[in-house]
Subunit: 229 residues, 2 copies
């Protein structure tokens, strides 16, 4: 019984890792679609998000099932309950990748971003994929020493986000309002994507160390403009 | 034992309702601060968000405690696990109210919104408070017949959000890029606020009817521009 129980927990962990892989691929392809104004690729990201949502629903059902059929001890229960919240966050990351793809589709065949900002968005996409893969590693290995890397990626993302914000707000912004808003929203999607990854890794710290979420929840963000979601 | 258990569940429900009240008051005051460019009121909203976060952490601990010390039956377990996700959503609503207040502080003593859009933001604030109070009622009474009202408020919010988006994107927008971005982000905060309320009421439907979240999760949004969080 006990062994079967831990098998079930391992299955949940595997599925959470699988979610981070799907979402990492999604943000990677969404970024590529954005940079190339590639409608077909954007569509594939939008359609692919359903698989992430289904996986999240499956994880929920499994967590529910485990908790209902077993009487888990404290640590295991913490894993189960955190599993629910982690899947919720990773699901949101998938939504954000989809939003990037939808923005690409909305402006197609035009590009959503001016050519001079391609480099910045390529960097943001790279950071988003890196943070996603690191997050998957934290979930899989429970090695919380990777958390510092996740936070460092997040800091870099925040820096790029602020940089873009400054560029579109500057008096010499050579494009229009529409372009400025597109850049702002896109940039925000990447920034929120990284934030959710930080939330997930903090929950993993909670699982591993037992420290409450609030204790590991000191917000590293000192951005001028904070953005909600 | 059993009775004590249900007392504990009731306490969680009461605290979730209390969270919606705090958040309803926060979005109401944040809107007032936005409309009046009232720095002091904005600061009080920003500081007050900590109480919401603390309440969310308390609810988490309690849910964990109940699940750990009892072996809840299926329905009760569903309430406990949904309680965690509901508190997460309401906490995000509090964050969004705080974002509105921070935007007010950022532009002070200037107003963040042009005078001709005050009416629209006043409406959005009113809708946000109404949807919050209705959501609290659904949590308290478990009467899912209120869910239609929540969705109708959300539809109205989406309409206003699209309307504002059209206004700032129009060729005759008389203000600058900064003003357009401020309006877009603020509008987005209200729109996301309403979305989270819809998510919460769907979870309540799940608790009451046992229908899976996915089954009640048909997205009513057909907005041109979807926004992520």
């Amino acid at each position: 019984m006990r062994e079967h129980f831990h098998d079930q927990l391992d299955a949940v962990t595997d599925e959470l890792v699988q979610m981070t892989r799907l979402v990492g691929s999604a943000i990677n392809r969404a970024t590529q679609a954005l940079l190339d104004a590639d409608l077909q690729l954007a569509e594939s990201v939008i359609e692919g998000d359903e698989a992430v949502d289904l996986l999240a629903a499956e994880i929920d059902d499994q967590c529910f099932d485990i908790a209902a059929r077993q009487a888990p001890v404290a640590t295991d229960l913490r894993v189960i309950m955190s599993g629910i919240r982690i899947s919720m966050s990773v699901e949101r990351m998938g939504d954000l990748a989809k939003h990037v793809a939808k923005q690409t589709r909305l402006r197609y065949p035009k590009s959503s971003i001016p050519p001079e900002l391609r480099g910045t968005f390529a960097q943001m996409g790279g950071l988003a994929e890196a943070i996603c893969s690191k997050t998957g590693m934290v979930i899989l290995t429970k090695d919380v020493s990777h958390v510092a890397a996740v936070e460092s990626y997040d800091d870099q993302m925040d820096r790029l986000h602020r940089e873009l914000f400054g560029i579109v707000m500057a008096p010499d912004w050579p494009h229009g309002v529409e372009e400025a808003i597109d850049v702002t929203l896109l940039s925000r999607y990447y920034e929120r994507f990284a934030d959710h990854a930080v939330t997930v890794t903090k929950r993993m710290v909670h699982i591993v160390t037992g420290k409450s979420y609030a204790e590991v929840s000191v917000d590293p963000l000192t951005a001028i403009m904070e953005t909600g979601g």
